[in-house]
Amino acid sequence: MPALLEVRDLTIEFRTKAGIVHAVEGASFSVERGEAMGLAGESGCGKTTTALALMRLLPYNGRIVRGSISFEGRDLVPVPEDSMRAIRWKEMSIVFQGAMNSLNPVQRVGRQIAEPIMLHEEAEPEASFKRAGDLLELVGISRNRLNDYPHEFSGGMRQRVMIAMALACNPKLVIADEPVTALDVMIQAQILDLLERLRRELHLAMILISHDLSVLADTCEQVTIMYAGKTMESGKTMDLFTDPKHPYTQGLVGAFPDIRGPRNMPEAIPGDVPSLISPPSGCVFHPRCKFAFDRCTKAEPALTELSVGRRAACFLYPQVTEVPPRPIAITEV
């Protein structure tokens, strides 16, 4: 059975005054039904851009330059905008980070949750609001709060509201972009538990985006690591953590202080994130990589399968091939 979502060679560019920003390059991953996949990496590495691209929500100066997004076997990249609108929220929805501004501050919460229901299913307002109330209760909020405004909720509760809203049309895939970043640790745990429970009960597929690996460790079965727009490694969560292949992943995992064992200083990865307008030649990580050798500066490693379900893009592994130089042609989307 084909995966629910299969992304291949997704490349996204932004046109800015300073030049063309290569936000994402050659991203490839897949998500099965009911599976949770984590997308990890530092700020600005392209995770959110990828997520937005999946729903074709890129800002006006961004475009998908290459690649395919296969949802239930259908490539979404060439789909015209009005058809896309029918897909949005109904097939897949998104929960943003820092729900401070993700909800319309001048509209009541109930109305916002009911809005997509009325839109996509052409339901009556009364039925929609009843469903909105059900959804609130599903995430643990009393349905009396349907008529409240977003600013009357705490941060954690706003996030729950957003989750309830995301589930409004029974989507098959929910993308959660930094769902717990702005919250304190106790609330973080609650929200993650909630997501996990909902996923199991509703058989949802999820893409969880975070720069915090610990968030992904518990909830996801698969993890994809991104850096400066490129995919570095992907595989089963357990495997990635216990045996990271890519030096970057090793760095990330090694940056964790371990409660058990001797007290070692966590290792930081030296250097800074490169510019996305003029990325370094060859492997994009080589300036910060302690294993870098000559080939790394000249050619770009391709994301290659090292073993079943495990892929990495690093020349340390002999199977890894080089990315062929790309033609400059740009496909309009």
């Binding site: 937005l52 729903m55 929500l57 006006y60 009005d82 609108r85 029918a86 897909i87 949005r88 929220w89 109904k90 929805s93 998104i94 943003f96 820092g98 501004n101 993700s102 909800l103 319309n104 501050p105 001048v106 509209q107 809005e115 997509p116 839109l119 996509h120 405004y149 600013h151 957003m162």
Partner: protein, 324 residues
């Protein structure tokens, strides 16, 4: 609300001070010692008690103010209060009409510019906006007046160029006011040019502010959420962007009300429109001091009330604001 009260009181006091405490001028000398002004001097002395001690004068002033006993105009011997309230009505009509026009067009242009940001329309309209922003309203009025008068140059150039009445509605002191269609239509026609001038003058500011406010809103996360829900761009604009873009605009307009009123005064003078502004200029020209005394108060109160109104409007529009 208390603020408004204090402000009004402040205006009253300031007005008093202004007239009285001009550099080195005791009040009596504001009226020239020309024999032809004898009547005025006597009147002023008796009405305002100018021969009494200062503090008493102030009390008399306050008394007169609040009892709406504002004396009699020197020019035409009608009660000042009557004249001023009557004129205030006309001024409010002018400002009200033009503000409505301005807001409607301003929102439309601003929204269109914000959505088509960076493209031709935005560039052109913003440029025109900044250009118009700096245009002296009286000059604009003059140009429009000359363009639309009966034998204007434009009539000879462009056939069918309409000739609009170029003065404000003739005062109904002599003609009793009827609410029938003929009168209303005529009043409306006479209102057209002045309102148009004032609208154009203030339009630029409002559409620019609207545009910026909307652009700020458009970059917020909840707009992306709205798009993510599958709403069409128009739905997103109407339901999410606009309701959030309006409150800042209302606050900014409120701040500008004094400025708008200043523009209204200019328009009134140019078009001989019988409002507060026109009256002020006349009063200065004919040294009608009783009138001048209270014109400032009226103007100030109008502004304060307008600000209060906009505060209430904000309260209704934006649920985040609470009465503290």
């Amino acid at each position: 609300m208390i603020n408004a009260g204090i402000t009004i009181f402040g205006i009253i006091c300031l007005n008093y001070l202004l007239i009285r405490l001009m550099p080195g001028d005791p009040s009596l000398s504001i009226i020239p010692r020309d024999p032809k002004f004898r009547g005025l001097r006597d009147y002023m002395i008796s009405f305002f008690g100018l021969d009494r001690p200062q503090w008493e004068q102030f009390v008399i002033y306050l008394q007169r103010l609040f009892t709406l006993d504002w004396g009699v105009s020197y020019q035409d011997h009608r009660p000042v209060a009557d004249i001023l309230f009557h004129d205030l009505g006309w001024t409010l009509l002018l400002v009200g009409t033009s503000t409505i026009i301005t807001i409607l067009i301003g929102i439309a242009v601003g929204a269109y510019s914000a959505v088509r940001r960076g493209k031709a329309f935005d560039f052109v309209s913003t440029g025109i906006g900044i250009f118009l922003y700096g245009m002296p309203i009286f000059w604009l009025g003059l140009v429009l007046q000359s363009a639309f008068r009966k034998n204007s140059v434009f009539q000879t150039w462009i056939p069918g160029w309409p000739a609009l009445p170029t003065s404000g509605y003739y005062d109904d002191r002599l003609i009793p006011w009827n609410w029938d269609i003929v009168h209303l239509a005529d009043a409306g026609l006479h209102l057209l040019l002045p309102a148009l001038t004032l609208s154009l003058g203030t339009l630029a500011g409002i559409s620019l502010v609207m545009r910026n406010s909307l652009i700020d809103v458009m970059t917020e996360d909840f707009v992306t959420t709205a798009r993510a829900k599958g709403l069409s761009p128009r739905q997103v604009l109407r339901r999410h962007i606009l309701p959030n873009g309006l409150p800042p605009m209302v606050s900014l307009i409120a701040l500008d009300i004094a400025f708008i009123l200043g523009g209204a005064y200019q328009v009134e003078v140019i078009f001989r429109y019988q409002g507060i502004g026109f009256r002020t200029i006349e009063a200065i020209g004919s040294l009608d001091y009783p009138l001048l005394q209270f014109i400032i108060v009226i103007g100030g109160v109008a502004v304060v009330l307008a600000n209060l109104l906009s505060d209430f409007l904000l309260l209704w529009l934006d649920p985040r604001i609470k009465i503290s």
